[in-house]
Amino acid sequence: MFAQIHKIALDYEVVDRLDPKHGYTDGHNPLGKIPALEWHAGQFLFDSPVICEHLDALSKTPLLPKDKQAAFEQKWWHALADGLAEANMNLMFERLRPENHHWPEIIERYETAIADTIRFIEGRVDDLSPDWTYGNIGLVAALDFITHRACEYEWRRYAPKLANWHFGFVDTPVYQDNFGYWEEL
């Protein structure tokens, strides 16, 4: 979404070679983590907040505010959103395990983290701008991830104000152009 907003041309390569031992390697990075951005020939940048900052810094009109305090507020929201996405991903990976290897305690921990965080954000919706900000990009992406993967928690039911806020982004070109990737994941 950063690339879209700042009109930076990126070629997306969908990884489909998951090596069970090494993750998504392909020489992209030793951790086998995605996303990875080829910022110099053969050199890959990660992880996602670092990629976002780099892309944002390439623009003449970066989303991250110049004011230090305001910038950290945005990074705080972004980190909260990433935490939400991580809890959902951990839940997804827990459920992908062979059934007799599921650990109910950890499933409850992830589900609780998701529900607690959604409720918390619902209480703070009035602080959120209706525009694409550094924090909002993280939030919209995390909410969609929850809608589409792993969690049957119907967040919109528990957070009607947040659902309304999220709906404000759905018709924007940035959202529309990035949404298709859900079908491939």
Binding site: P20, K21, H22, G23, T25, N29, P30, L31, G32, K33, W39, L45, F46, D47, P49, V50, E53, H54, A57, K68, F72, K75, W76, A79, L80, D82, G83, L84, A87, R97, P98, N100, H101, H102, W103, E105, I106, E108, R109, E111, T112, A113, D116, T117, R119, F120, I121
Partner: protein, 198 residues
């Protein structure tokens, strides 16, 4: 400022080293676990630690954001202002954090009830640990020393690996990296924040 965390956490130790270097007063406070809610405190609904009380009852996370914030409080920040060097430092920091994550994931796999262990997953995390160490060994000539923003994460992750994944003898696997790491052992910030049981 209060930093809620456990002293063996490499993520917290990065912040403690930085606070030490910059002379910022940070108190490490042990977290209280609240069942499935995790380590909740103030506005930290994810229950994640470390969390830094940057404003009354407001907690900053996660650890790279905490480090960047603490660094920004200093008149002589260690994060370079040159955009390229800045991102390169963050890249190295992310690589160190990735090693800490791999060790953490390994640890969380083996603390499950025994019948719930998944050997494939243990192997995946062990491979990630070894892959990152091999790659750090290749590039450590470039790291310099003693402390910079990237080194914070790499040094603390290596110590965490020694403690939580001791069966992986990273020093034997990567002598160059071991020699680089040895430069930190006598450092005041290193010693003041090293809290692993012998």
């Amino acid at each position: 400022m209060k930093l809620i965390c456990h002293p063996i956490s490499p993520y917290a130790r990065k912040a403690m080293i930085l606070a030490h270097l910059h002379g910022i007063d940070v108190d490490m406070v042990l977290p209280e676990k609240n069942g499935a809610h995790g380590y909740r405190a103030g506005d930290n609904p994810l229950g994640k630690i470390p969390a830094l009380e940057w404003k009354p009852q407001q907690y900053l996370f996660d650890s790279p954001v905490i480090c960047e914030y603490l660094d920004s409080l200093s008149d002589t920040p260690i994060l370079p202002t040159d955009p390229h060097q800045h991102m390169l430092s963050k890249w190295q920091h992310a690589l160190g954090d990735g090693l800490a994550d791999a060790v953490y994931n390994y640890r969380y796999e083996i603390v499950r009830p025994k019948e719930l262990h998944w050997d494939e997953m243990i192997l995946r995390h062990e491979s990630a640990i070894k892959d990152v160490i091999a790659s750090l060994d290749k590039i450590c000539d470039w790291f310099g020393g003693p402390w910079n923003y990237g080194n914070l994460a790499v040094v603390t992750a290596l110590d965490y690996a020694s403690y939580r994944a001791a069966h992986i003898d990273w020093r034997a696997m990567s002598p160059k990296l071991a020699a680089w790491h040895a430069n930190f052992i006598g450092d005041a910030a290193y010693i003041a924040t090293y809290d692993y049981p012998a």
